[in-house]
């Protein structure tokens, strides 16, 4: 009879190490593609008319698509670049949807193919981008190119992490500027200096709604002011469905939503001189009170203080909420969550209060890029980095943001607003753009040194008011006081 074969301890260890070694080798060499992380589904966009129900923006599957290169970068390309005496630059991207990450990888390969410049490209976590950049900057190991958001720019500029293009190559700026939507171009200008071209911006704030649920509840038109939104939310609420979902965690995106509504109500973070914190003014207080009213009316889901924007999106697309307060990224999340193209989603600019109450002129929207091409001040390959920025400013390279590849983002290049695909996917945006209303009165999202900590005070106030610990006014007064300390300290930059 054959005895069962037993492994000795030594054999077990040896075989185990062999398997582990093989697995390690496979993991290291198996994929030459930079692995995009499905990080924070950053922020995409669809705008619409403030009043009328959004027209069907059928995501044209038959729409013409730009020629996306299919080559993926390989280490061989870098080796070839090195052999040819060409530099290799490091590029860090933060966050983004899966489609975008794929798109970047593919066009990066084309860049290397065209210029011979090697790329060490990686996608990084959105939520810890500041920590990563700061630590790398201190250690003098920061990437040559940083694909970053507009709100981080003032801090990074003040720290000397990124270099203004004005000091790098003005002629490039002159070449690019006429091709960009002026308001989007301005969203990466800090203290009069330009810090990077972007391919899109996200705008806020929007009201996303389920057309079928509106129809079922007998709501014939989209709410036009806050009272109408409150009424609609109450009407749409059912035992198993919230009338409206909103996010009130301490994540930046959630603060951005409230900021968008407050700015449209005439609120501002700072006074005109940029010195006094104004979030305790009526513009912000009333916007926060609107959130509180939604909660008091029991029109929101349970636990909005633990519900981040991605979870709000899931509630909306799962049919657990009829409306959703979001930035312009509704369609991008629809795409990244793999929701059907024919989901009955409508999207309008979040209605304003019948009579705005803030001290400033109501802003149409606020916006920020999330992947502007910034160049590190420490880079010793600035020329190659500039070539990279130039490449990503080209119309054919940015073409995917017209909706043919990437949905839900507001394109930065004028050319993208004129493609047949764009007109077909975003007819409302196109109409507003042609009428000069899309960006009229839009402002960059708040950005000043110390913003992240100041925004945390705003988020805390938002939670305190929503949880009923304080009135909206008191919570924002406290937050303003704390934020003022931060602004005062950081204004010495």
């Amino acid at each position: 009879m054959e005895m069962p074969r037993r492994l000795s301890r030594r054999q077990l260890v040896r075989n185990g190490m062999l398997v582990a070694g093989a697995a390690l080798l496979t993991a290291c060499g198996g994929s030459s593609l930079p692995q995009p992380k499905a990080a924070e589904p950053a922020k995409p966009a669809e705008a619409a008319k403030p009043a009328a129900p959004a027209a069907d923006a059928k995501p044209a599957s038959d729409a013409p698509k730009p020629a996306v290169p299919t080559v993926a970068p390989t280490p061989t390309a870098q080796i070839a670049a090195a052999k040819a005496g060409m530099p290799t630059i490091t590029v860090w991207k933060f966050g983004g949807t899966a489609k975008e990450l794929e798109y970047f990888v593919q066009w990066n390969a084309k860049f290397t193919e065209e210029t011979g410049i090697g790329l060490e490209y990686s996608n990084n976590d959105w939520a810890t981008k500041r920590e990563k950049m700061l630590a790398a900057f201190q250690a003098k190991r920061i990437a040559d190119v940083l694909l970053i958001d507009g709100q981080s720019m003032p801090d990074l500029a003040a720290l000397g992490v990124i270099a203004p293009y004005d000091d790098l190559d003005k002629s490039l700026m002159e070449k690019w500027k006429p091709n960009f939507v002026p308001e989007i171009w301005s969203s990466t200008v800090v203290n009069g200096k330009f810090y990077g071209p972007s391919s899109y911006v996200d705008m806020g704030s929007f009201l996303v709604y389920n057309k079928d649920m509106f129809q079922e509840a007998g709501i014939a038109r989209v709410p036009e002011n806050w009272d109408e939104v409150k009424e609609a939310a109450k009407k749409l609420t059912k035992p198993d469905r919230a009338g409206i979902t909103l996010s009130a965690t301490t994540a930046t995106n959630d603060a951005n939503n409230l900021e968008g509504i407050a700015y449209a109500n005439g609120g501002r973070w700072l006074d005109e001189a940029g010195k006094k914190v104004m979030i305790d003014d009526a513009g912000f207080v009333d916007a926060l009170q609107l959130y509180v009213d939604f909660v008091k009316d029991k029109a929101t889901p349970q636990g909005i203080t633990e519900t981040a924007f991605g979870q709000s999106a899931t509630l909306f697309f799962e049919g657990k909420a009829a409306m959703w307060i979001a930035l312009s990224y509704g369609k991008a999340i629809q795409q990244s969550q793999g929701r059907p193209d024919d989901f009955p989603m409508g999207m309008v600019l979040f209605p304003r209060q019948a009579k705005p109450t803030g001290f400033a002129k109501p802003a149409a929207t606020i916006m920020t890029p999330t992947a502007a091409v910034a160049i590190s001040a420490l880079s010793d390959k600035k020329e190659a980095a500039l070539k990279y920025a130039d490449f990503w400013s080209r119309a054919e390279v940015q073409a995917g943001w017209d909706g043919s590849v990437i949905r839900g983002r507001v394109p930065a290049l004028k050319a993208n607003w004129e493609t047949e695909t764009f007109k077909k996917i975003y007819p409302d945006w196109y109409e507003l753009y042609k009428a000069g209303k899309m960006f009229d009165g839009s402002l960059p999202m708040p950005s000043f040194p110390g913003l992240v900590e100041a925004e945390k005070q705003l988020s805390t106030a938002m939670q305190q008011a929503i949880l009923g610990q304080m009135s909206a006014k008191d919570a924002l007064t406290n937050a303003a006081k704390r934020a003022q300390g931060i602004v005062d300290e950081f204004s010495k930059v």
């Binding site: 920590e131 201190q138 965690t249 889901p301 349970q302 636990g303 203080t305 633990e306 799962e318």
Partner: protein, 298 residues
């Protein structure tokens, strides 16, 4: 023979410990010293200030109205997490120390929370806790205990307990395995003698097993104290100190001060305070438990 006045044998010994000492100095002594130095400065990367200000940073953080809440939250978080891990670890460790067939499987599978990356575990718990979409609320609804989802991470009165549950879930395997190993090391003769003397199960546990566990329990207690006090990932990954600062603990406050606002002077002062509290707690704990060790040694 002497080299630089040191005996050759001693020199050889010194050479052997030198790499270890260099590592300890580079990665422990120097960074700790640097944190202490920074705590006496107003270092702020954005304002580019780096002046020596004596105790000003300490004054600033201690006079911050939020600090009182942070300390309260930290105390609750550490006490709940440590005590629960000790009690549950003792229970689970005692159970898996028996030679039940299922315990072989349990001893292996209990390690899963321990080996799972914290970030992954925290992300999973966030979804499980969610008031509308979480499996925990779903189960509670199905058994009829609640009719509406509870916002475990969104309700200030619950959040610390919900977070402590994650921490205990992660630390329990370690406690249980250490205790189980310690119990298995108790001479069976002691237990047999107690049985002959007519001791029941509880009496054997109380008067024989528990005193033998004084060392492992102290060790587990101190480790949990340190882990909880320094745990950033669980809280930051779940709530970032919210809602309304209800889960803002020292570690999140330090992180936020350092990496959100680049105020490394204040952040370092908070770190030194954190270190001092931890040291005081550990010494008190050791002092209190010394009598139990003496009893064990006798």
């Amino acid at each position: 023979m002497r080299i630089f006045g040191i005996r050759r044998d001693d020199l050889f010994g010194l050479m052997l410990v030198l790499p270890a000492m260099a590592l300890v100095f580079s990665f422990i002594v120097y960074p700790v010293g640097e944190v202490i130095r920074l705590s006496f400065t107003n270092t702020n990367l954005l304002t580019r200030r780096n002046d020596f200000v004596w105790f000003e940073s300490y004054e600033r953080v201690l006079s911050d109205p939020l600090m009182y809440q942070v300390l309260q939250n930290t105390a609750l978080w550490v006490v709940v997490g440590t005590v629960a891990a000790l009690i549950l670890g003792l229970g689970v460790g005692y159970f898996i120390s028996f030679d039940f067939k299922i315990n072989r499987l349990l001893r292996a599978s209990i390690l899963i929370p321990w080996i799972l990356p914290t970030v992954v575990a925290v992300a999973a718990w966030r979804w499980m806790y969610h008031a509308e979409m979480g499996v925990i609320n779903d189960m509670l609804k199905k058994v009829g205990l609640i009719d509406k989802g509870i916002a475990w991470l969104g309700e200030p009165s619950l959040v610390i307990y919900a977070l402590s549950t994650i921490a205990v879930w992660r630390h329990l395997p370690f406690a249980a395995l250490v205790i189980s190993a310690a119990i298995q090391g108790i001479p069976t003769g002691l237990l047999e003698a107690a049985t002959i003397d007519g001791a029941n199960g509880w009496q054997k546990f109380r008067y024989i097993i528990l005193p033998q566990l004084a060392y492992p329990l102290t060790f587990i207690g101190i480790m949990n104290l340190i882990w909880n006090m320094n745990d950033l990932t669980t809280v930051w990954g779940s709530t970032r100190g919210g809602p309304a600062n209800a889960s803002e603990i020292l570690s999140t406050f330090i992180y936020s001060m350092g990496f959100n606002s680049f105020r490394f002077g204040l952040s370092s002062a908070l770190s030194v305070i954190n270190f001092a509290i931890l040291l005081a707690l550990s010494l008190t704990y050791l002092y209190v438990l010394r009598s139990a060790w003496r009893a064990e040694e006798r």
